[in-house]
C-alpha cells in the first residue's frame, strides 16, 4: 500500500506574545487513492496543517513527505502534481469562469482543458459569467475546478463546504465523490461531522493541534461500543448520581449528561429503552423527551473531549 502523504511529529508555532502552538506533534498517513478527512473544531489546526502539507508554509519541526517527495527539494515537481483549494480564496471578480480556468490551466505543463474541468464540477453553463456574479456554491465549485486543471494526483480541499447552503453542499459532495471515484487521492478538512462521515474513507479527528483518533468513520463509531444513541430528558432535569444508575442499565456502553438531560450510547435500543422507561416509573420521573438515533462522529468527538464539535 503506497502513501500519498506521510508526516511525523509536525509542529507549527506562530511567533507572538504568547506564541501560538497551532500544531503540536501531528502524525498522519494518507493512502494513495483514498479520501482522507481532517475533522476538528475551528482553531484545531487543520488549515495550518494542510498548508504545511501543501508546501505553502514551513513547519517549525517535523517531517513531511508528499507523493514520496520533500517540499525543499522537489517543489516544482510537486506543484505540477497537486491541486489546492484554500479556505476562503476570492478569485478575481471580473474575470469570467472560463478565463479564470484558462489562466490557471496555463500554469501547468501537462494538465487538461479548462472546459473539461468545468464540466467535471458542473459549471458548464456559467462559463461566461463573471466570478462576482456566481453564488457561494458556484464559486466553491470553480475553486475546485481551478485545483483540477493541472490533472492532479493529489487534491487538497480546505473546508470545501463551509458557509454553503444545504443544496450547494450536496452538489459539492457529489463532485468530491466523483473525483474520489476517478482515482484521485483527496485530503480535505472539515468541521462538519456529517461531511466527514459521508465523504471520507478515513478520518483523523484533530483537536488542539493533535490527532486524537484516527480510522474509518465506521471504525471510530464502533469504538464507542454501540451504534445507537438514546437521548432523553426528565421534566426537572438530571439529579446527582442518576447518571451512574443509568450507565448500569442493560445494554448501555456509556452515559453522558447533555444540556437538559442525557445521552446513552447503546448497542441494542430495544433492550435499553424498556429499562429506561422502567427506571423512570420506579423513580417517579416524568420523561420530557426520548429519541434514538445512529451514533455519529460527533459522539466520538464528545466522548473524547467532552465538548461538541460545533461549539468547541
Amino acid at each position: 500500500m503506497s502513501l500519498a502523504i506521510r508526516c511525523r511529529g509536525l509542529v507549527k508555532t506562530f511567533p507572538g506574545k504568547p506564541p501560538v502552538e497551532a500544531v503540536r506533534g501531528l502524525d498522519l498517513e494518507v493512502r494513495t487513492g483514498e479520501c482522507f478527512g481532517l475533522l476538528g473544531p475551528n482553531g484545531a489546526g487543520k488549515t495550518t496543517t494542510i498548508e504545511i502539507l501543501e508546501g505553502l508554509s514551513a513547519p517549525t519541526a517535523g517531517v513531511v513527505e508528499v507523493l514520496g517527495r520533500a517540499w525543499k527539494t522537489d517543489e516544482r515537481e510537486l506543484r505540477e502534481r497537486i491541486g489546492v483549494t484554500l479556505q476562503e480564496t476570492k478569485l478575481a471578480d471580473k474575470l469570467t469562469v472560463l478565463e479564470t480556468l484558462r489562466l490557471f490551466a496555463s500554469f501547468y505543463a501537462r494538465g487538461r482543458s479548462a472546459e473539461s474541468a468545468l464540466d467535471e464540477v458542473g459549471l458548464g453553463e456559467k462559463r461566461s459569467s463573471w466570478v462576482v456574479n456566481l453564488s457561494g456554491g458556484q464559486r466553491q465549485r470553480l475553486a475546485v475546478a481551478c485545483a483540477l486543471v493541472g490533472d492532479p494526483e493529489l487534491l487538497f480541499l480546505d473546508e470545501p463546504t463551509t458557509g454553503l447552503d444545504p443544496q450547494s453542499r450536496r452538489q459539492l459532495w457529489d463532485v468530491v465523490r466523483a473525483l474520489r471515484g476517478a482515482g484521485r487521492t483527496i485530503l480535505l478538512t472539515t468541521h462538519y461531522m456529517d461531511e466527514a462521515e459521508k465523504l471520507c474513507d478515513r478520518v483523523a479527528i484533530v483537536d488542539h493541534g493533535r490527532v486524537i483518533a484516527q480510522g474509518s468513520p465506521a471504525e471510530l463509531i464502533r469504538s464507542l461500543g454501540g451504534d445507537h444513541v438514546v437521548e432523553f430528558a426528565f421534566q426537572d432535569g438530571l439529579r446527582a448520581g442518576e447518571l451512574a444508575a443509568l450507565e448500569a442499565l442493560p445494554g448501555v456502553r456509556a452515559a453522558r449528561a447533555e444540556a437538559d438531560g442525557g445521552a446513552l450510547t447503546v448497542g441494542e435500543p430495544h433492550v435499553t429503552i424498556p429499562a429506561l422507561l422502567a427506571f423512570a416509573e420506579r423513580e417517579h420521573r416524568a420523561l420530557a423527551r426520548l429519541s434514538t438515533r445512529q451514533a455519529s462522529l460527533e459522539d466520538v468527538f464528545v466522548t473524547l473531549t467532552g465538548r461538541h464539535l460545533r461549539d468547541a
Binding site: 508546501g55 480564496t89 476570492k90 478575481a92 471580473k94 496555463s106 505543463a109 479548462a114
Partner: protein
C-alpha cells in the same frame, strides 16, 4: 492543457480586469484630462492683463479716469472713499488714485506694494498719467506679443500631469492591486500552482507599460488638439522617459506592497510616498521655487526627474543624451526598489 503561454494569460487577465473596472479607467484616463481642461481654462493666457483702478470721487476724478482708457488696458471706476477702501481690500481694484487737490499738484497712489498686480498697476498708472500730462516719449518700442505654444501654463501643465499620472498609476496599479490580491488570498492561491513568479510580476509590469503609453498618447493628443501643443523632441525620447518612469514607480509600488496585508494600510503608504512629490516635484508649479538648499533632494526624487525630463523633451526638444542625470535618477530608483521588493516579497 496549455492554450497560451502563462505570461500572456496573466497579462491578458490583468488588462481585462482593468478594462472591466470603470473606476480604474476614470482615474487613469478621465481624471488627468479633466484636470488639464479645468486648469487650462482657469489659467488661460489673457491677451493683456487688465489693470483695475479706482479713482477717488473728487474734482479731478473725471480727468484722471479719462487718462486711463480701456483700450490701453485699464478698467477705471470712480469710487467714494469707503467704496475705494472696500474694493482695494477685496482685490477688485489693484490701486486707488487720489487725484491732486489743485491742478499741477501730485496725485496719491494707495496700494499694497507686496501684491504683484498692485505694483504693476502703479507703474502703468504712473506712466499713463505722465503721458496725459504731456510727457514726450523718446523711445516707442514695437510690441511683438509671444503666445506661442511652449511658454503657456498649459504647456507646463501637460508634461506634469503625465508624470503625475505615471506615478499614481504605478503606485496604485501595482501596489494596491497586489495587496488587494494578498488580502483575498489570491496571491497564496497562485503560489500554490507551478506559476513562475517572474511571469506574474512581468505581466503586471507589462500591463502597466501598456497603460502608460495609452495615457501618454491621450494627454499628448489632447494637448495638441485642444491647445496646439506639439511635442518638440523626438517621440522616441518621450516614450523612453515614460517607460523609465513607469518602471521606477512600478518598483516603488511593488516595494510598498511587499508585506502589507491590508488594502487600507497600503493606501496610506502610497499617499505617504506620493504626497511630498505632488508638492515638490513640479506638477502644478515649478520645483525651482523651493530654496537652493533643498534642490539636491528635490531633484533626486523620481517624479522631479520624470517631470523635468518630460518638459525638456516635449517643450524644448532636448534629446535623452542631454538628460542623463535624470535618466540615471529614474534608473536608480527603479533598480533599488525592484531588488528590495523581490527580496522582501511575501506571497501570503
Amino acid at each position: 492543457m496549455r492554450d497560451r503561454h502563462p505570461f500572456l494569460q496573466l497579462f491578458a487577465a490583468r488588462l481585462r480586469e482593468l478594462k472591466r473596472e470603470p473606476g480604474v479607467l476614470f482615474w487613469i484616463f478621465g481624471f488627468p484630462l479633466l484636470l488639464a481642461i479645468g486648469l487650462g481654462i482657469a489659467f488661460r493666457n489673457e491677451p493683456r492683463t487688465e489693470v483695475a483702478v479706482g479713482v477717488l470721487r473728487s474734482a479731478g476724478a473725471e480727468a484722471v479716469a479719462a487718462a486711463l482708457p480701456a483700450e490701453r488696458g485699464f478698467r477705471a471706476s470712480v469710487l467714494t472713499d469707503a467704496e475705494a477702501a472696500h474694493a482695494l481690500r477685496l482685490g477688485k481694484v489693484a490701486l486707488v488714485v487720489v487725484p491732486a487737490a489743485e491742478s499741477g499738484g501730485a496725485p496719491e497712489f494707495r496700494f499694497d506694494p507686496t501684491r504683484p498686480e498692485s505694483e504693476l498697476a502703479r507703474v502703468r498708472v504712473h506712466d499713463a498719467l505722465e503721458r496725459a500730462a504731456g510727457r514726450v516719449d523718446r523711445i516707442e518700442p514695437r510690441e511683438a506679443p509671444v503666445t506661442e505654444p511652449g511658454s503657456r501654463y498649459i504647456d507646463f501643465l501637460i508634461p506634469g500631469l503625465l508624470g503625475m499620472n505615471i506615478m499614481s498609476g504605478g503606485m496604485w496599479g501595482i501596489g494596491y492591486a497586489i495587496v488587494d490580491m494578498r488580502s483575498k488570498r489570491l496571491l497564496k492561491r497562485l503560489a500554490a500552482t507551478p506559476m513562475k513568479r517572474t511571469h506574474f510580476l512581468g505581466a503586471f509590469l507589462a500591463a502597466r507599460l501598456v497603460l502608460v503609453l495609452a495615457e501618454m498618447v491621450l494627454l499628448l493628443a489632447f494637448g495638441w488638439l485642444a491647445f496646439d501643443l506639439v511635442p518638440q523632441g523626438s517621440l522616441v525620447d518621450v516614450v523612453a522617459l515614460c517607460v523609465l518612469g513607469a518602471c521606477a514607480f512600478a518598483g516603488l509600488g511593488l516595494l510598498v506592497a511587499t508585506r502589507t496585508a491590508k488594502v487600507e494600510i497600503v493606501g496610506g503608504l502610497i499617499n505617504l510616498v506620493m504626497l511630498p512629490m505632488f508638492v515638490v516635484s513640479g506638477v502644478f508649479f515649478s520645483s525651482e521655487r523651493f530654496p537652493d538648499v533643498l534642490q539636491p533632494f528635490v531633484r533626486a526624487l523620481p517624479l522631479t526627474a520624470l517631470n523635468d525630463g518630460l518638459r525638456a523633451a516635449i517643450l524644448e526638444g532636448a534629446p535623452l543624451s542631454e538628460q542623463l542625470p535624470r535618466v540615471l535618477v529614474l534608473l536608480v530608483w527603479g533598480a533599488i526598489s525592484f531588488v528590495l521588493a523581490l527580496r522582501l516579497f511575501r506571497w501570503s
